[in-house]
Subunit: 417 residues, 2 copies
Amino acid sequence: MDLAEIFDELDPDEVVILFRLLYKDQAAEVFSYLSTGRRKAIVSAIHVKLLEHILDDLYFDDKIDFLEEMPANFVKSLIASAPPEERKMINQFLNYPDNSAGSLMTIEYVDLKKHMTVRQALDRIKAVGVDKETIYTCYVLDDTRRLEGIISLRRLVLSDEDQRIGDIMTNDVVLAEATDDQEEVAEMFRKYDLIAIPVVDAETRLIGIITIDDIMDVIDRENTEDFQKMAAMEPSDEAYLEAGVFHLARRRIVWLLVLMVSATFTGGIISRYTALLGAVVALASFIPMLMDSGGNAGSQSSTLIIRGIALGEIGLSDWPKVLWKELRVSLLVGLGLGAVNALRMVVIGQSDPALILTVGITLVCTIVVAKMVGGALPIAAKALGMDPAIMAGPLITTIVDAIALIIFFSIASALVL
Amino acid sequence: MDLAEIFDELDPDEVVILFRLLYKDQAAEVFSYLSTGRRKAIVSAIHVKLLEHILDDLYFDDKIDFLEEMPANFVKSLIASAPPEERKMINQFLNYPDNSAGSLMTIEYVDLKKHMTVRQALDRIKAVGVDKETIYTCYVLDDTRRLEGIISLRRLVLSDEDQRIGDIMTNDVVLAEATDDQEEVAEMFRKYDLIAIPVVDAETRLIGIITIDDIMDVIDRENTEDFQKMAAMEPSDEAYLEAGVFHLARRRIVWLLVLMVSATFTGGIISRYTALLGAVVALASFIPMLMDSGGNAGSQSSTLIIRGIALGEIGLSDWPKVLWKELRVSLLVGLGLGAVNALRMVVIGQSDPALILTVGITLVCTIVVAKMVGGALPIAAKALGMDPAIMAGPLITTIVDAIALIIFFSIASALVL
């Protein structure tokens, strides 16, 4: 990993030269940690023999990840030279959708039989374990490769050597299917404190395992995706410094366009009140403060709810609790802001009581509405099968802006004029 | 875990009744997964003998977590009845600051000696392993408990039984100190794909280990903290549904107040241009769109940079790359938005070329400034030793609002009047 980190800071040319200097066995390990850009540079420059050696040394899941990054022609020619059995397997694994359990799993696990003794099991682990991604959880299969149970190396080492695997294995196994979403799989790891999960097909035949190091990456990626969605961007896996300018611009402009066009509506509200604005010009100067406070208050609520849903702490049925809590919090926060704002207005010399009252009432109403909207929309999104992360700051702000202005001008019409 | 999940959905009274029905050994495990509220209810209702049994069964890190939640008096009386050696240890562990490596570690590890053979090591693991939190990594200590190396159970099981631990152990160990920040420790796990890390004191004496299940929680908590800071809240560990209304309000109001008072400045800009606004009332209707687009564009950039810094993908020295990239992206995005906006204005009947040009130029300038500010501030915060997550949407929006309005009115003064 430390070598890979150094490599990622070098120019592609230098990487290729240095890579050739590595021991053959080091090469595969460093390769598995490198960024896509560096890998491509190396693949195009090294001898095909060395490449084959590296690919042989990679764990199957890392090999699949690598093949997914490479151009289709390259992958085809590589697969063509593989033995038929492996070719079939590679094609099968390449076909699992991104973000599915299937795309995370590897095939290097230890399989045992129920009738084995602990001693036989340990001998088998010793014989085959060196090439396995993990030996800490072993999988007990019947003759048709159906998963009958699992047994940890811990249990094996701590058990009497003559006990039968079938008697000491765990039958009640947490497992995933290849089509499960990777987020669900991460949730299983989190909930049950596991270090590996078996993946089975519809007949509970074991087709692979997922290990926790891959799940750590998934959790990082899923969080990154949520951060990006919540900031009104289309999510992308690509590292910022490696991403192209056009790619970045495209991911950002769509939501900005949507939100900009939505703001037409907000502008329309102001247009309707130009007479009022002309009569009391001071009103205009409060628009930014009201819009921003509403938007920020709404973002706070939606962020807490989105995160609560993501961590499984808040469910659909909690919506009455959420709204009741947001109502009380927003009244407290709104009254606090209103009081400080009144003070602020007096300090900057705007001591017209009607104006102070108008701004104060608007502020309280806006905060309450913002927090109710911010609390409700993520849960509504979840109920509709959408990603709650979309209902975050930018969208909430646009909605709350319009509501804040309507409240402001309505109250101002009544009180100030 | 499944039982604990059911318990967390019940009323505290029901929890106490059901908890008494558990087998003694189940009780400790379920207890370790329960929420703080449920634990308190149980502790106040069960017999002290059962409580002592549960505490005996908990791993040391879970016990410390539990004691940290409980009232000081209760902890005192519990510790008083513990043997002196354990009392000293508990007090030491309770003193590690929150968020430090010390607060995460446990003392249930397997220690080995260099001169042992693999067979002797496996025998020792068999003898002491059942009470250890992990046996998958074992720690090789000298007579003064200094850490000389580590060896994985994998290596032990796959090695010849007569080999000496000193010959096959790993000397080059990734380790943490008790005062290290938990975020740094999580980064080590992520980077080196580890399942446990040893924690040492200043003389490299082993004082505890941290296992990956606790790190998964840390990663969740750190991400939650970032989400909260980025939405202008003071971070808190407490689950939303368990948090009190006053607690929630206090965490939210501070930043809202700061941002509201900052908006005085933005309002001041509008006040200075009331003459212009009075003359061309249509200008006011573009304020929300310009403010929102700027804020959203800035949030996008700052979110990507904050996340990149958190994942270690973007470092301080990358700032020229970031600004250059943001400049190009923002020009693309700004021109795109400007073009669509011109179309939008024509469609809604505002076809005054001077007005279209004013809004268009302002839009491009605002997006460019917003994205440069959004890209620069998180890196600046990092350079100053502050948390980049503070430089997110809400703060960026407030800054960009002011800049957007100054640009807008300056251009409008020149072009429209």
